[in-house]
Structures are given as structure tokens and as C-alpha cells.
Symmetry: C2
């Protein structure tokens, strides 16, 4: 569990957990049930954790930071729920998705509900930077989602397209979490900008690793079938690299553009990608981002959680789930 | 066109129109195309209009109010797009919906994108009341949507359930538009609270009239098939009233709970509802709300747009589309 890496902020995270459950309560029983189900289904609470850690570099104040930490997780959950609507995926983290249990209509509005609850929390903050950064992040996240849809099955996309997309999909919210936790605790501009860059690099490494794991992880650890991205026509960095190699391109492209792929074809594609170095290349890129993240840490004050940040940076690259 | 009623704020509304188009621009061409299509498809711009009118009761300032007016329309559009996702309705205002053209996945994220763009605009405001009211409105609107889903085909719902639902679905955002337009222009608490109540009553009357028109309007004016609510199992006030009459209840309930109804059955249901007074009763309720709205106007300062507000109140009850 990545949770162990957050021992420095264990108590604060449990406050966030309690507040998360309180935050989604509604007078409507169906809504309370659904939202609580979503929270209980877990998740790494990576964004609240980064928010709290960011705050530890400034004048940490639990009351000031918790609503933001909760809001960040709610925004993240809302995007997951909306992703479930569109991807028709039946499980997430090994549990049935909201969609599988209640259908598309409920999922759409549950996502909006979670987003609305996050806005209530965010509207408490006086520093305009917090709503502004989150609003811009939301817009870019939606752009990323739409870009992912419009580039599905597109075997001609570049590494640059991929970076642009995963920045919007993942890195921006992690980056905002690191930055805004510090902002909520009165950090200087220099401090929160450094944390923002740290979060960006960590977020990029995190998503690249996610995309590698989608091809290499054991199904039980991943909580979803291996090769899910390939199945859905989502082209990630190991595939983009492999498509640039003449030895793999033609057969790989042939498999990718099939709307329905059988198990055999998925495994063949992963094998092609691996053999021409797509996994190793991607792991190398993740390492480069981790190194950049670690460099940003040099510039931060020497507080106890700095060590935690270093460990997280290390872990992102070697995690298996 | 309801637009004619807004001659007092014609120039301001055209500024809003320009800014709406600017607001949804993206670096992604698909996104710009989709969002622009949505805007061009029109709509009454009721929320921006109420926002501008509200501002006219205070120290009207176009620069201060326009971002809010645009944000209100974006929020409204986002809910329409998300409604399209869940209702599987193929047309809205006589044009193909985003869903019909691009599918569920794009619609979900376009809605989120519009919402995000509205957040950017809202984050400019220093008065915390504006983000707070809009955040609470968003949450309640989602609750209303979910309630509408969970009460579909439920022939035992009360008039109170209906009022609760349409307040969330429609009245709250119109109410917020009237109130916050004034807030953005520096209104006193007493002034913006009066406008908020006015907006609430107008919004309730508007939705009741909408629900009547869904049964009585000519299809060409409505831009969608008559009896759409009945078809989808959405039970509105004329139906609730008719279900309370023993002469209609048993046959009406029988038709309503059918998942698939033919044209004949829809027309029979509307006929049953009309004959036992469901339409007249509902029209009477709308009139009561309009009278309450007009009473609120007495307390407002005598500015030229006060007459516009009165005319709008009258029009809401007699509109045919």
C-alpha cells in the first residue's frame, strides 16, 4: 500500500477521510449511498496526500488545508466516475463501477454532484489562486479527456501528443495538489511554484508508470484486465515507441485499429511492444521525470516531509500497482 | 421570441453572446467546433438576461457583470449536455443534440469542459457570495437530477416532491441569476435577497409552464415530441394532480408505468389528465407563483427594467413555447 509512505501525515489523512465521507452526504438516500460507496471503494488518496505534504513546507494549518485536500479528491473521483460513463469499463480497482451498478444516468449526475461539493469547499478560500488554478485545471482535464477520445485508434500520434495528453489527464491535478496545499498554508510564490513543478514531474512519471503497468502488471494487482488501453484503442507511450520501429509497426498497427481484439491479439501486441523495447524506453522516460522531480526538491526547505517526498518519487518509478 | 422582452438589455446581451463564443474556444479543434455548435444552437439566454436585469437594480457595470452572465449560461448549457447523455433524447430545440452527433463520451466531457470554463470566469470575483451560491446551486441541481431519475415511473409521488424537484432542476439557477447579477454590481443584501426570491418564483412558474407545454404545445414550437415527459416516465404536476383523481388514476397509472408507450397511449394519457383538470390546476399554480414574483417586485427600486421584469413575469405564464 502506498499509504505506508504517508506515515508522516497519517493522522491528517484520516481527518481527510472522515471529512470526505461528511462532504458527500445528501438528504437524498440514493445519493448518499452511491457517493459513500465511491469513497469506500478507496483509492490511493494521492492528491490529498500531496496537498498535505505541500502544506508541510509552509505554515501547516490543518483546518485551512483539509477542505482543499477533500476537494481535490472529490474532483479526482468525479473524473473517474465520468470516465466510467464513457469507457463502458465494468470494473475499477477490482470493484464494480458506479456505472455497472446504477447505470450511465446516475453516474453522470453523481460526478457532477461530487464536483459541486468540491466547489462548495473551494469557495471557502479567500486566496483567488486556489479557485483559479483549479478552474484552469478542470478545463484542461476535460480537454485532455476529449483529446484522448479523438486520438483513439490513431497510430500516427507523436510522443509530444502523448505528453500533452497525460499532462492534462493526470499531471495537472497532482501538480495543483502539491502547489495549492502550500498556497492554503501561506507559502511564498517561489515555494509553491517549486512544488508545482515537483508535482508536474511526479504526475508525468506516475502516468507513464500507469501506462506501463497496464501492459505488464498482474491482473489481480491492477484490479482490471491487462492491456485495457490497447483493447480500447488508447495509444500510450510504449505503443508509440514500438510503432516507430519498423520491425513492429505494421503488425502492431493492424492489431491496434481492430475495434474488437481477442485475448491472443492483445498478448501478441504487448509482446511486440516489449520485444522492440517499448517498455524499457517508457521506464527510462519515467526515470527522467523522477530525476527532474528530485532536483526540484533540492530547492525546498528542510522539513521532515522532504524525505517523504523523496521516497514517493522513488516509489512512483518502481511501483507494481 | 422571448428575446423581444429583453429590449432594455439588448446591447448587453449581444456582448454576452460574443463573450460566450470567446469563452468556449480551445486549442482543440473538435472541442471548439462542438462547443460553438452548442452555443449557436441558441436558447433563450434566460439566465444571462436575468443576471443583467438584476444588475440594473444596483450599480450596473457591464465589465463586472458579463463574466458572470456568461458563466451562468455555460452552467446551464453543461446541464443540458449532461441531460442529453442520460436521457438518450435525440433532439433538443429541434436540432440534433451533441449526443446524437458525437456520442455519449464526448458529451460528458464537453459538459465538464463548459463547467470548467464557467469556473474560470467565476474565479475572477472577489465577493465570496458568488462562488458560494453557484457551488451550492450546482450541488442541488445534481441532487434534483438524481431525484428525477429515482422517481421516474413512481406514481405515488406528491406535489411536494414535485416542487422540491423543480426547484433544484430549474428555479435555483434562475434565482441565482437574478440575485448574483445584483451582487456583482454591489447590491445591498436586502436588494439581492428580494431578487433571489423573485427569481425563485419566476423559475418555479417557468418550469410548471414547461411541464404543461410538454403536454399541450404544438410539436413544431416545442422542438420535441409532445408528451416527452410521459414517454420517459417523468411525472410532472398535471399528472400528479390527475393521479389524485379516482376517475383517472387506475388507467393513467397503467399507461405511465409502461416502459414503452405507443402514440395512442400517450395521447390517451394527456386526454385523461386534461379532462380531470390537471392542466388547469397546474396553470393555476403557475399563476400563483407569478403573483408571488410580482409582489416581490413592489419592494424593488423604480428603475426602467422593473417594467421588463413585470412583463417577463406575465409572459412566463402565457408563453406557448
Amino acid at each position: 500500500m502506498i499509504f505506508d509512505f504517508f506515515s508522516e501525515i497519517k493522522n491528517e489523512l484520516s481527518v481527510v477521510e472522515d471529512e470526505l465521507i461528511k462532504a458527500v452526504r445528501s438528504s437524498d438516500p440514493l445519493l448518499t449511498e452511491t457517493a459513500t460507496h465511491l469513497i469506500m471503494a478507496g483509492g490511493k488518496r494521492l492528491r490529498p496526500a500531496f496537498c498535505l505534504l505541500g502544506g508541510k513546507f509552509a505554515n501547516f494549518n490543518l483546518d485551512k488545508i483539509v477542505p482543499l485536500a477533500v476537494a481535490l479528491e472529490l474532483i479526482h473521483m468525479a473524473t473517474l466516475v465520468h470516465d466510467d460513463v464513457v469507457d463502458a469499463s465494468l470494473t475499477r480497482r477490482g470493484r464494480p463501477t458506479v456505472k455497472a451498478q446504477w447505470g450511465n444516468r446516475i453516474s453522470t449526475h453523481i460526478g457532477d454532484y461530487l464536483l459541486g461539493k468540491s466547489l462548495i469547499l473551494i469557495s471557502q478560500y479567500e486566496d483567488p489562486l486556489i479557485p483559479r488554478v483549479l478552474a484552469e485545471t478542470s478545463v484542461k482535464m476535460s480537454e485532455g479527456e476529449i483529446l484522448q477520445i479523438s486520438t483513439t485508434y490513431d497510430t500516427n500520434q507523436s510522443i509530444k501528443d502523448y505528453f500533452y495528453r497525460i499532462n492534462r489527464k493526470t499531471a495537472l491535478l497532482i501538480s495543483a495538489s502539491c502547489q495549492l496545499g502550500a498556497v492554503a498554508c501561506g507559502a511564498s510564490r517561489q515555494l509553491h511554484q517549486t512544488l508545482r513543478r515537483f508535482g508536474h514531474y511526479i504526475g508525468m512519471a506516475f502516468q507513464i508508470t500507469d501506462d506501463i503497468l497496464d501492459m505488464t502488471a498482474e491482473q489481480t494487482k491492477l484490479g482490471k484486465p491487462v492491456g485495457g488501453d490497447l483493447r480500447q484503442g488508447i495509444i500510450t507511450i510504449p505503443t508509440i515507441y514500438a510503432l516507430s520501429k519498423s520491425s513492429a509497426r505494421s503488425r502492431l498497427a493492424e492489431i491496434i485499429i481492430k475495434p474488437e481484439k481477442n485475448e491472443q491479439e492483445i498478448l501478441e501486441a504487448i509482446d511486440l511492444i516489449t520485444r522492440c523495447g517499448g517498455i524499457d524506453y517508457s521506464a527510462g522516460l519515467a526515470t527522467q521525470y523522477i530525476n527532474k522531480a528530485k532536483k526540484e526538491l533540492y530547492g525546498l526547505p528542510d522539513v521532515p516531509v522532504k524525505r517523504t517526498m523523496q521516497i514517493i518519487a522513488e516509489f512512483i518509478g518502481i511501483r507494481k500497482f
